[in-house]
Subunit: 333 residues, 6 copies
């Protein structure tokens, strides 16, 4: 178990604990000796550190490794910084990555069970078969629980994808209750599968980045491929249904200039695209509020996904917006 | 009571009934005599007509009047057309405009009662007071039940505004059930008031058109004025709340280029803007499906509000989309 | 064999020959009798026609059928028009569709042989294997020779796709001769496959239209699927190569707003996108010049793909541009 | 009276004088002791300062306060910086804010008198009554003389709004002399009122910032409200005239994407929008010239409002452009 | 002298007079005989005409010729139309083109004298020399008085260019009176020369069209060339001044997307661009008002240059806008 | 001859050699003494330097001078830096600017000979005469060999223009071999002349910058002027040919928003514009690959001209892309 977290370090103390190495750079000091300029991360934040005279040390770690360090906590230019005395790579077996990456406050396993349950409630037929095929695949089942929903704009944390999709599935059912002419099961399938490609577009085992294939192909086309491969294992999947489902995935960014090669051409495709947008933007707003909760004034800093400052919720104990901190699934980072 | 409707006229027969005059133009025939080129309307469609030798007749009507006609039904260039024998203005008292304008299939009075009931269920406080003030105003109460929601893109029929808002209120409650951190009553107020200015922006007693003030000022600014006048009659309406409510109305088109002078800066403003967009676009799609229900092929003609052809719902008796024709509130026109 | 072509009909004569029916509409004449309003097509143009008193005739044809007609050639509003005396559907077996659709002036079979030969000249390896797999597929081989390259903007005729690709392959080799650092075989594969999806996106057996799947999914995503299915039959196709090839197809429209979900991220993808654009635009210009060759003045009408009027080539017998009419592959339509 | 100004401080000297505190931040030095990192402002510029060992001092000021300091003037990284020995808040009564904020070189009181005089020269009628009502309001009269015309792009100094409007009124009269068909008094009213909302949109008593209501609602809608409230106090203000005047204010940014909910629909609205644009851009250019007057070369740095570098006026003593420094109303900052 | 004008023709009468032939097309009537379908123009409007049995007549005219006709005035589809009995080309010497093209209500010769006088009032120096050189050129002097200012958007009539420039010169002097820091003579030169290229970009001797060189090169680049040729004849024209003047001409459309290859980079270039825009738009509005003066309602039809409907001036005898019909220089067409 | 190059300096050594001074700034150290903060450049890179106590030295150089220095090579913040002991301006006669500016790896004189030879192979006629006139001009001949092709996006090195044009000429011939209907000599002339204005738009004797006239007028209009002046010296140059050639130069940026005042209106103009774009973008990609060759990962940093990250060529010894480093004409910088 991890002994100490970055958010809790006090200047003037010493600490021995584990961190994920974000960056590692060898530099030369004025006196000509070499030192390491490092940045560490755990699920509470980041901190810089220096290892002086590094060439005299036996070093066995690289960026993205988890290391155990002993260090003094100092202050440099007003910010805490570590002066390292010992640093060594941890054994993989001893590492729980959940300690080092920001992650959902909700339990991904529970969310996944919830999605499976919802699929089982569907009417029997090709859509249900397809979804069961996909979510029973052990690789999908594992990655779907871990993947973030985006690199940075919203739900950028372990479990972000499943948290986003779980919210969408609940929202989609309510919207279909309201509009009885919508094909509920097609919308459900669209919501469950629209971002499936994210589990391969992004790397998320040691920090978040795009995979090479992710940058070249993108999660929309990758997701279509993954679903299509499973679809072909479902006997007699109706071609018209496949056309519709594929279109929903292709069109879910809503506009060509957002990377969808087709724009929504029927009601269910339109609804999936809008709900995805609402849920992402609301989460981005909540994350901005959390980041700026100590910032003075009525507005947050400029939200990059929204492109503008946000008015903060009223601080008086109003019944409804007071629930904001209790929102399911904000990140702990 | 109106004896016959345009949709039912048979070529080769005679008819005596009432119509609304859409256009009236005096032209000169080849033989030098004058005739009237006319277009008529009732709530089932439109038809052209000609009154030959019109200068010999005593005529007492203008465009936008309701007239009683006796005419033969002929065919001209493949379309039915009236050859008029008698035409005279009806007395206002004998006219039920509902016979001549397309209108909602839902009962506006019932919808209005529903909105009032929903307002009464709100917690007591300034928002409820404001809404009661507005909806108790007899002019608002009358016009809000009649106004279309738009000139042509969606809900362009008598009762369209209240049908659109009633749908939004139901949808908004469901969305707030899903996102407990939203301020439900602020969203409710925003949905009820976002298009209030439409009741003055549009003329809708004899066909639909923009009012002069509507074209110069627009329903967004007009609605803000109307709400503000009522707000000032509510004692101690909190200024912060007014800022939020005014922002929701100003921002409900979502983007500057769609005529909103501000873009949504907090969660409730964003949600009102998105829900308005979804409900309008779904209605526009339903109207396109209805218009093109006899068009061969899998796609409709290009939908002007969407900017593309729409894939029609599957024709097989699938459980969910089969409900499309049963959708509450499609237009009869 | 077809006895007469539309381009050759003379007013005041009679004709008996075959046409493709483009549209067929039943209308009512002033005297109350029904007539058919028809439009016919062959590979030299289109002509309208009327069959009076149609209800008294035994009719067994629909739009898209090929019919044998006997008719008088008249003039209506300055244009030739057929007054039909006999009209009956032809047997499929008697129809050569090449008589009724505009088609390339080049021989698609020869062009196809040329492409195969070029593939055989490639170095042995996964790209060559993949291309052979695809072009040996009898369905592909047949449709690739027939498909137009676009609905209307350029090469909109039978054989247009293979004419466009054959030009691109020749051009690509020359450009790779010039830039030795380009991966010639990757560019070759990209050019051969970039529009493969067109053979399913478009219907082209009886006039040109989008298929339902074509409108919903588009030739870019469809082509990727088709290539991927074949790729998986090639043993050990390198994943990095697949990433590159897939990216070239996805990115060949060059910009998101033109429907590519990714923009070119390496040199070969950029080159394929540019060459496709050049060849399409030059062909569109040639077609505009052909269409407006009798139009007075120095400029053509506004070219829709270019968005502007075009300066015509100089009419003096200049050596180079004089070749324009001799250009390989203009349409006969 | 203020003893010394930032622009005149000499490294190596000591100073005792007053400044406005722009920012104040407590930091920890390497040796663990706390210090204050400060930035000061007066109407000649800004300077940074440090108060070492700040926890041992009695401090009674915050950002936006005016303080009296005793400090040594040093140089840090090539820039002057204050090393504080004493710092204490001034009494409000002793503070003349004009010493601490950049302000117009013109006398706002004189400019205001000029505007009043111009209003009195108007023909008697509803427009004159409305303007007198507004400019006689003591709150408006005070704020209108102080407000800047914008946050940063042009006239961003105390008195900037009235300087901008005074210039516009003079310009408007000349343009109406030229185009006799323009309604001069409507243009005059539009120019005087188009930016009225700025006096509430911006905070300008201690530095310039947007008010909360300003960011949520914007000066266009706020100005319309303020004018409307006064308009309703003018007996029998003609509704058609109000429509026109309101439209001028709403449309004065000229285009939807610049935040106007309507674009100019008649001549006077068009003229107000253009004149506002010209005067703002010319002022922004003059300010850029002033800021870059010591920059070598023929061009200024990139002007943010214009989006490009500006060619400087010729340096030879040409008669006309030599007047540039003598321009009425440049800022002293 | 022309005996009758199109605007005055009465159905049922005969007429003998002269017209400009706009279009001439030979068609075949139902009975197989040939007829001419013609359109005529004079400076009061246009009218269609038919010459039956045309092959039996000796015809010596083409489109763009002026002809003398004898015809009956009839009505066809509600519009007057000529049934021609005689038609023959006029001798060039007998033709005054002013009778056949719409033209300014102002006297171009007087306007030209005014411009010359203004140039003579300039201070002696290179700018004045350049302007005298240009306006003394007899070809320029002739064409500058005839050219329209645009093909269709504003001032599209004979004398339109000089009317537009004369207005701009007056406006520019007033604006320079207001902003003393502007270089008045540079602005004056810019206004006089910005559209000089129009005299070669447009053909305007027999109707308005683009010249071939005009479409390929455009009036901006053509005007720069024309001015530069004259500039080189002025001894010692300062290169810096030429840079500025050339930039003003290049930048006068204000934005790249409007065809200016550079955007205004100093004050005089900005002012020329804005004044040109104001004067053009106001004239376009006046022309729209004139065209729609009999249209019912408060708004005009959609103005193409403005992209929206325009609110008409109030009809009450208000002092200022009542001047609108008295505006100098509206077209008689 | 230059003794040492920046790319080869080793920390901890001393050096005596020559550099170009990029920037020179006098600053005050904490101890009150003055020092010079300098940046140097040669054709292998840049390095910063400091001259302490500079007021005690005799200094005779400015920015853009070439100086001889004696200095110690130190490390500051991880980067090498010079601590100067001696610095003095070199005599112009001793300076070979090629040592100090990045330049083509190809020989500009050889490239120029190649262009001349290609011109001599053209058919005799006005185009050849014009080209010979231009390239025989000694000023053009000198500057055309030196100019970079752009400020920073591609070919931003001495000899960049001629390298870019030489590549284009070769490419153009190949493309004309492929499309026989193109006017090869017009394309050749267009490629040779499209960027002629660059030799005056840019300063490139001491670092690269825009000339004053370059920023105000731009290389497109400047090039047209230069070509036109020469064209007028060619007897009987056909006006239609001049229209076409001028249009090619004006339109070579392809779109109005890229600064072309006209968009390509015939085939040769379109081809010149596309080929210019391809060659520039490929070169920009090669330069990005060179700059990022040591960057880990599959992608480069974001390429500014392309607006996105680039996938690097595969590192395996593949035959074709391995040629990338051998590409003719990469920069040495």
């Amino acid at each position: 178990m991890k002994e100490a977290y970055i958010a809790d370090l006090k200047p003037g103390t010493s600490v021995t604990t584990t961190f994920l190495v974000r960056t590692k750079e060898r530099k030369t000091a004025r006196n000509g000796s070499a030192y390491l300029d490092l940045e560490f991360q755990d699920n509470t934040g980041t901190i810089k550190g220096k290892l002086w005279d590094c060439d005299s040390a036996q070093l066995n770690f690289e960026a993205d490794d988890v290391v155990r360090v002993t260090a003094g906590v100092e202050v440099y230019q007003g910010n805490p910084q570590l002066s390292l005395r010992k640093i060594a790579k941890c054994r993989e077996a001893d590492v729980d990555l959940a300690d080092f990456l920001p992650h959902s406050t909700q339990n991904p396993d529970e969310l996944f069970k919830g999605l499976l349950k919802r699929i089982q409630q569907m009417s029997q037929g090709p859509l249900q078969s397809l979804l069961l095929h996909i979510f029973d695949d052990p690789v999908v089942a594992r990655k779907y629980r871990q993947a973030p929903a985006a690199m940075s704009y919203h739900h950028a944390f372990i479990g972000g994808l499943i948290e986003h999709v779980s919210s969408l599935v609940g929202l989609g059912d309510r919207v279909c209750d309201h509009y009885p002419f919508l094909d509920r099961e097609l919308i459900l399938a669209g919501l469950l599968l629209h971002d499936l490609g994210k589990i391969e577009e992004l790397n998320f085992t040691r920090g978040f980045s795009y995979s090479t294939r992710g940058l070249l192909v993108g999660h929309i086309s990758m997701g279509v491929e993954m679903v299509r491969d499973k679809m072909r294992e479902v006997p007699d999947f109706p071609p018209e249904l496949w056309n519709r489902l594929q279109h929903i995935i292709l069109a879910h960014h809503g506009r060509l200039e957002f990377g969808s090669p087709k724009e929504p051409m029927f009601m269910e495709a339109l609804v999936v695209s809008y709900l995805d947008d609402i849920d992402s933007k609301l989460e981005a707003m909540l994350e901005q509020y959390a980041a700026d909760k100590d910032r003075p004034g009525d507005f947050t800093a400029r939200s990059r996904p929204l492109g503008r400052e946000l008015l903060k919720p009223p601080s008086e104990p109003a019944p409804a917006p007071a629930a904001a901190p209790a929102k399911p699934g904000t990140l702990k980072f």
